[in-house]
Symmetry: C2
Subunit: 467 residues, 2 copies
């Protein structure tokens, strides 16, 4: 059994509204159950709720027309990218029409001399990086899943490269947004910085589609580094691995990626991908820079690893070997869920100040020993961010409740260390009470902004908070 | 004559309100003209407008009590740091009470292992860096003036180090804010990243005190680099200097600082500080890193400079020499204004995508040749951001109008290149029409947010926009 979802009272979509949507986008308004089901399911542990219809706009102008129509008819609007979010962020719990932006997948322009590009919201990150490769550029944000850029903006995604290159908050220069009034606005110009008025760009990033629909994104890009080198290193203890990372960061080493996988996660990865890594806490590193710069970074980090009980570094310098290494890492979530065939995954996500990270992961590991549900720890450890992935038996009625309690203790622990209940997954429907615990009256400010910009509460209603 | 300022109709502060303020803060409510004048003057070209009173709160709780009282009495509230803003951002054009936060100047905590600290809003950046030095840490944002951290947050300041370390947008982890309701909220936790709800931190950064008062700031810090090296290099042509920077950035050189001063600005600097730099377009560089890393950066940049008509690099590696070099740069604004004794300064500020920077500065330089008012160009050229500083004769009635026209052409030029009308000075009262030109309907979204959070329009009213 999936985690139950509280739905709002909903009226069926009137025939006349369906006809109105079809007038605007013809056959790109889908009513069939299979399409609706694809847009009502969650990547993780939440039960499905189907939207009343799914529309597939092709332009920002079409999005604006659809928005005006839906708002006039009081119909909820749920923006949708690749559906890879994990806190139920796109589940249409108030019903309404899902706006699937996957047909808006054009790379509009690349300004290679400015190190930026503008893309439609439905472009996926792998597609973008393929497009950019010939120009010696790349887009660093990598949440694991092949998400859309619009979805990544809306959840303020980050992932493996954030320790060096920042999150979507830093990666975005400007957005084109359709407002709840159906206006098309651009939140900023293409300059690297600006002090012109309120930072609407950052307000929309992480708003989970509750304040409007992002249709175009202007992104900062980076030059593909002269030298890229990846390595894997196993540790005798979890704390030794975490300390290696914390000390590297404190020494100013500009690690491009550093991921922690605990012993349980390594077992799961070996099992899924037929690999034979030692089944101990392991760090996956990537170093970017000039040849001399990378050599200097590697020398510092391998010394620290040695001093903290780390073994030899296994290097992957050829692109195909690196791809294999990171594929294993990217599949870690699916590996962790599938330690029990047919299991439901629950991926939680906290982030703490890095000085508290060893303590937070250590206490969590101890807590997981008391939990009857298999769980792996996996983290973007350079940011202080880590996940616990539970593998829940859908037929065991008490496992979901047990995980809920363990997850609650994890979040309490992170909050007590001045951390956050979500480093990168967002609030969605899964963490609303925790948001209030974390930020108190600041949540009232958020509600005030929501009410002002979306007075009918039609944009992804019931996400982040119920009004 | 200073630039005239449009003031709103204002009622004198009733005796009863003065008594109420005095009940809350006693003698720390000042009514004397000299104190009021200090808080009604602008750093640049705007005429003075005096607040009705100035209060000097000592704690966040006191700010909250004062806010509740002023809001109940419909009295405008103007937050004030060091008064170094340049677009009239703190001029009380609707009258009211200026909240001078200079008594809130405590460094609350430094978490050296997390590379962060929390300070009260009245802490000045030089004070903070002195406090941090012994711990091997520094706070990189440097707008030139010895501004307060609260003021820098409120104008989204940046300055000379932003090319490497980002602006206040990136430097701030969390804020404590007194809302227009008089509530004390914290906008975020101390974790490096979070996806927990709307980004209120970034909304407050750059809001110029129109949405509440920032009273505490948690800042990201950086380790003092192993090697710091500064250099000055003169160029035959302005374009050669700009191209050197653009090519360095495009090659991924992590310049810590790179400032351009045109020939007029160098003349002004020599004159003010009795120096003898060549009076040509000049770049001031600073390189941060390991010894090997800095050597590598220097080698790339000096090759590029040589290829673009640059002369020898003059090095300043000893801290006292570096301090002297950057003092000359920091005083460039005063030097530029004082090329005519007794002149009024007008410092404008645009930022364009870096690929358009050479063209934008080149056209501006040509335009300035037609202007009868002396002007210097000075810029944080690694970000695409530069200033023109005019030295206006207060007795010449037509100079202010002439500068207004030249400034307008500069901003039009920047906007046509997809740039912004302000890279770091903010909108204040000086750039409100330009904000609308730049962002169109997005400004309506800003007004909606302002009306929702400050329904009586009492927080720094008339800044960024009139409602």
């Amino acid at each position: 059994m999936s985690h139950p979802v509280t739905t709002a009272e909903r009226k069926p979509l009137p025939e006349s509204v369906v006809a109105g949507l079809q007038r605007l986008v013809g056959a790109r308004c889908e009513l069939g159950e299979s399409v609706r089901r694809q847009h009502g399911e969650s990547e993780t542990h939440f039960a499905s709720v189907l939207p009343d219809a799914v529309v597939f706009p092709e332009t920002t102008e079409e999005v604006a027309e659809l928005v005006k129509y839906c708002v006039a008819q009081d119909v909820p609007i749920i923006p949708f990218g690749a559906g890879t979010s994990v806190e139920g962020n796109t589940i249409p719990i108030h019903g309404g029409v899902t706006f699937d932006l996957s047909k808006m997948d054009r790379v509009i322009e690349v300004n290679s001399s400015d190190f930026d590009c503008t893309v439609e919201a439905g472009v996926r990150r792998e597609q973008l990086n393929e497009h950019l490769r010939d120009q010696g550029l790349f887009f660093p944000i990598d949440p694991g899943a092949n998400a859309t850029i619009g979805g990544m903006a809306s959840t303020r995604a980050s992932g493996t490269n954030a320790v060096r290159y920042g999150t979507m908050r830093e990666a975005i220069l400007s957005l084109k947004v359709v407002t709840p009034e159906g206006k098309i606005v651009r939140t900023s110009r293409r300059a690297r910085k600006s002090a012109a008025g309120y930072d609407l760009t950052r307000l929309m990033i992480g708003a989970e589609g509750t304040l409007g629909i992002i249709t175009e994104i202007t992104l900062r890009l980076h030059g593909i580094p002269e030298t890229v080198s990846s390595a894997v290193c196993s540790f005798e203890t979890l704390i030794g691995a975490v300390d290696t990372v914390v000390e590297s960061i404190q020494m100013g080493v500009p690690l491009a990626r550093v991921e922690i996988l605990d012993d349980a996660q390594m077992r799961a990865v070996n099992q899924r991908s037929s690999l034979n890594y030692p089944e101990k806490t392991t760090l996956f590193f990537e170093f970017h820079g000039t040849e001399a710069g990378v050599a200097e970074q590697v020398s510092i980090v391998s010394d620290l690893a040695g001093a903290n009980g780390g073994g030899e570094f296994q290097w992957s310098n050829r692109p195909e070997d690196r791809a294999k290494l990171w594929k294993a890492r990217h599949e870690a979530y699916y590996a962790a869920v599938n330690v029990r065939p047919g299991a439901i995954g629950w991926a939680t996500d906290v982030c703490v100040p890095i000085g508290r990270l060893a303590e937070c992961i250590g206490e969590t590991k101890k807590d997981l020993e008391t939990c009857s549900v298999p769980a792996c720890i996996l983290g973007h450890v350079g940011d202080g961010n880590f996940h616990v992935i539970f593998s829940i038996d859908p037929d065991a009625s008490d496992e979901m409740a047990e995980v809920e309690i363990v997850n609650g203790r994890l979040i309490e622990r992170a909050l007590a260390m001045d951390g956050t209940c979500t480093g990168e997954h967002g609030i969605g429907i899964g963490k609303q009470e925790w948001l209030v615990r974390e930020l108190g009256d600041a949540v009232e400010m958020m509600r005030t902004i929501k009410r002002a910009l979306d007075p009918k509460n039609l944009f992804n209603p019931g996400k982040i908070f119920e009004l």
